[in-house]
Structure formats: C-alpha cells, structure tokens
C-alpha cells in the first residue's frame, strides 16, 4: 500500500511517499482500517502521532478512523500547514 505524504509528514518520514505491507508474511498484523494505519505509522514514526490534527485521505476523500482500507486504495496523509 502506497501512502502519499504532504507537509510536515514528508519531513518526518524523509520521503514523499511510503510503502507499507498489506499482506502478512511474518504473522505481524497489517493495517485494515484508517485507525490501524494511524497506529501502525505512529509506532514507526512517533512524531506523526504527536500531530494534533492529521487528515487521512482514502481515494481522494477524507476518511474516518473506522474506514476499511486495502492494498488498492490510494492513501494520503495531510497535516495542516501554516506558512504564508
């Protein structure tokens, strides 16, 4: 599953996108919902879980935490940005 990164999330991860496993080979759980994804990413990148507001888009629509995700979905992390 490819995740597009915007704003400070790009700086935190250090690249414009991120690939995460969708099938478990090792028996580790893989994210099935937006909430799972937030937890998964928060463990890998603790700075991400510190953001007060972080929108997750699935297929170009704002997604609630209970929304299911799969490997075909296009996902984006969209934090607020402040510059002017």
């Amino acid at each position: 599953m490819t995740i597009l990164l915007f704003g400070v999330t790009k700086d935190i991860v250090g690249s414009p996108s991120l690939s995460i496993p969708t099938a478990s080979i090792t028996g580790r759980s893989v994210p099935k919902t937006v909430k799972d994804l937030r937890i998964f990413l928060g463990k890998a990148y603790p700075e991400l879980s510190k953001l007060s507001s972080l929108a997750v888009a699935v297929n170009n629509s704002y997604a609630q935490d209970d929304q299911k995700i799969n490997s075909y979905d296009e996902i984006a992390l969209i934090p607020p940005v402040s510059g002017g």
Binding site: V8, K50, L51, A55, V81
Partner: protein, 356 residues
C-alpha cells in the same frame, strides 16, 4: 476611464460578462495579512475591479520579505506594509475603496472587522490567526478563502461557503506551536506564495460571481516540485458549524508578537556584553560550532537551569534551525513573562551563511 473599456477583456468572456463585473464592484473583500500570499491576492482583485478592499497588517517591510513579497521594493524597507500597499494599489486602480486596518487580527477586533465584509481571505502565516478567522467567519456566516504553504507545497480551499465545511472540519484541533514549523523556520521558495495567492484570488472571484465551481468541501494540494495537484473531498461536521462564540484563547496570536530577531539583526547588535546568548542545542552540536560568547544549555535542561539565567539582561535563544529556540522561548516566557527574551529565527543554519 470608462468602466466597460477598462474591464473589457474579462467582461467579453461569455461565461463572465458585465453582470459579473458589477458583482465584483459591489463586493467587499477583507485580506488578512499583506505578505507573500496577501499581495498577489490584493493586486489581482484590485486590478479586476473589486469594489472595496479591506487590508490588514501591522508589519513593516523587511529585507528578507523581498524575495517573495514582490510588490515591495528596496526603498520600502522599514515602511509600514499597509501604507506601501495602499499607495501602490491606489495608483493601480483609483476606483477601489480601501479600508485599512493597522493591526493584527485579534480576538478583540475579529468580529467587528469581519462583519463589514462579504468574503474574507486568509493570507496569514500562523495557526492562531487561521483558527480565529475560521471561528469568526462561522459565527458571522461569511465564506473564507484559505491558502497556506509548507516548503514547496501549498493548500487552497474555500471554507464556510453556503453552509459548507469549515477549516475545523478538515483540521479540528489547532496544532501546538512546536508541531509544525512556519516559514520563518522552514523557508519558502519565492514563487510559491505567488502561485497559491493567485489561486486564492481566483476562488474569491468565483465565490462572488458564482462562475465555475467553488473549491468548497475540497482541499487543493499543490506540489511545486512535481507540479502535481490533488483534490481531497471532505464533508461538513455539524459540530464545527455551530460555533457561537470565539475561544477564550487562541494561544499565541501570531508569529508577529513572538519576539523574534533575524540573524543579520542579531549580528548587528552592538551591546553584546549586556546580553545573554543561550545556545539550546545538544552539547555535541555546540562543540562542533558555536558563536563567540554563547552559553550552552540544551533545551531538555532549560527549565531546570532557569535560576542560573540573569533575566535583568536581554536573553537571546539560538538553535540549529530556529525550531528549538522557539520552544525554548515559550518555556522561558511561561516562567518569566515580563523578561526580554528573543529567539533567533533560522538558527545556526542561517547564521552560518551570514558569518562565512
């Protein structure tokens, strides 16, 4: 100057016409902030024949503004942005009525000022102002056109348009000051605010005239590095549309009141012996390079070391990029609110380019 002749290039557009030109001249638009975003918005709306333009800013023009705030020239350095903009825009279009506000938007003045306008444009550079604009616009039922930058990226949307989603429907909670860097600390390429600002100006015209499709319920994401744009749809959340009063506190009301000094100004200080310069980086970073006279107190130890700092002197805080020094500033101001404490924007990164 005949009205029809002046605007003929847009009135002859079949889907625009004279009727929409009349709508522009009948509308009152408030532009909050006359920086990188605000200037192209003001210039284009003024050129196109907006009836009344509200202009709000309290800054003066500084040298480091010129790489992106292209209405200002070298002669304007040190002058009030508001005065310079008004003068230049009056010369550009003498038909426009200007309402000038020599202030920043605050909790105390937001509702009274915004009430006077039909559309508000958020051209600010900080979250406190953006959330304040949102809440005031929701209370007063005014649409607002949002634009913001981060590095090579920009965001544009129209909030609160015909009961559509608000800024809080997208980002419910205001980020704390240390979560997301601002342009002072993070940098911005000169042309980016021009791109995002002109997109905002276009949305203002669409909101006023109804031409095309207003970017309501959609967040436009622009990436200058790849020229890619994306649109994310987002729904309204009724909780955010029912704001009845402003919050008690919006935290810092902006970059403006954060006591910041730019590296070139710091280096020009002549009273070095009567100040304290605290470098809040880690000892390893400090050992690698530091300014003469700097005292090293890492950010993590700062609050414990507070009694060792002589607050009778002016205290300057320095780090690598300006991010930690700003956090340090908040920590020290929380403990010693009446002291003279400044953070040096851009930190050693910018300092090095000036010293070498």
């Amino acid at each position: 100057m005949s009205y029809s002749g002046r605007y003929i290039r847009q009135t002859k557009l079949l889907s625009f016409g004279i009727d929409n030109q009349s709508k522009l001249s009948a509308n009152k638009i408030l532009i909050v902030g006359l920086g990188g975003l605000g200037l192209p918005i003001a210039q284009y709306l003024n050129a196109m024949g907006i009836g009344t333009l509200g202009l709000m800013d309290q800054d003066v023009v500084e040298l480091h503004n010129l790489q992106r705030q292209i209405l200002y020239s070298e002669d304007d350095i040190g002058k009030s942005k508001l005065k310079v903009v008004k003068e230049k825009l009056q010369g550009q279009n003498s038909n426009t009525v200007f309402k000038c506000y020599d202030t920043f938007l605050t909790k105390a003045n937001a509702l009274a000022i915004i009430k006077e306008f039909d559309v508000v444009v958020d051209a600010t550079d900080n979250f406190a102002a953006r959330y304040l604009i949102n809440d005031a616009c929701v209370i007063l039922e005014k649409p607002f056109v949002y634009g913001a930058l981060h590095g090579f990226e920009g965001q544009v949307s129209v909030f609160n348009y015909k009961k559509g989603p608000t800024y809080r429907c997208l980002f419910p909670e205001m980020p704390s000051i240390d979560e997301i860097p601002n342009c002072d600390d993070n940098g911005v390429l000169g042309v980016l605010p021009g791109i995002i600002g002109t997109l905002q100006a276009l949305e203002v015209v669409k909101v006023i005239t109804g031409v095309g499709e207003v970017l309501s319920g959609k967040l436009l994401l622009y990436d200058g590095l790849t020229q890619a744009t994306q649109k994310m749809n987002f729904p309204a959340n009724a909780i955010n549309q029912n704001i009845k009063m402003l919050q008690d506190d919006y935290g810092f009301t902006g970059c403006e009141i954060i006591p910041t000094i730019h590296p070139e100004d710091f280096l020009a200080l002549t009273n070095r012996e009567t100040i304290i310069l605290i470098d809040v980086r880690n000892p390893e970073e400090f050992d690698a390079n530091h300014l003469d006279g700097a005292v090293n107190i890492p950010l993590s130890e700062l609050t414990n070391a507070i009694d060792k700092i002589d607050f009778d002197k002016d205290v300057y805080l320095l780090c690598q990029s300006g991010k930690r020094s700003r956090i340090a500033l908040n920590q020290l101001l929380a403990e010693r609110p009446k002291s003279s404490i400044y953070h040096i924007s851009g930190g050693m990164n910018e300092m090095a380019s000036l010293c070498l």
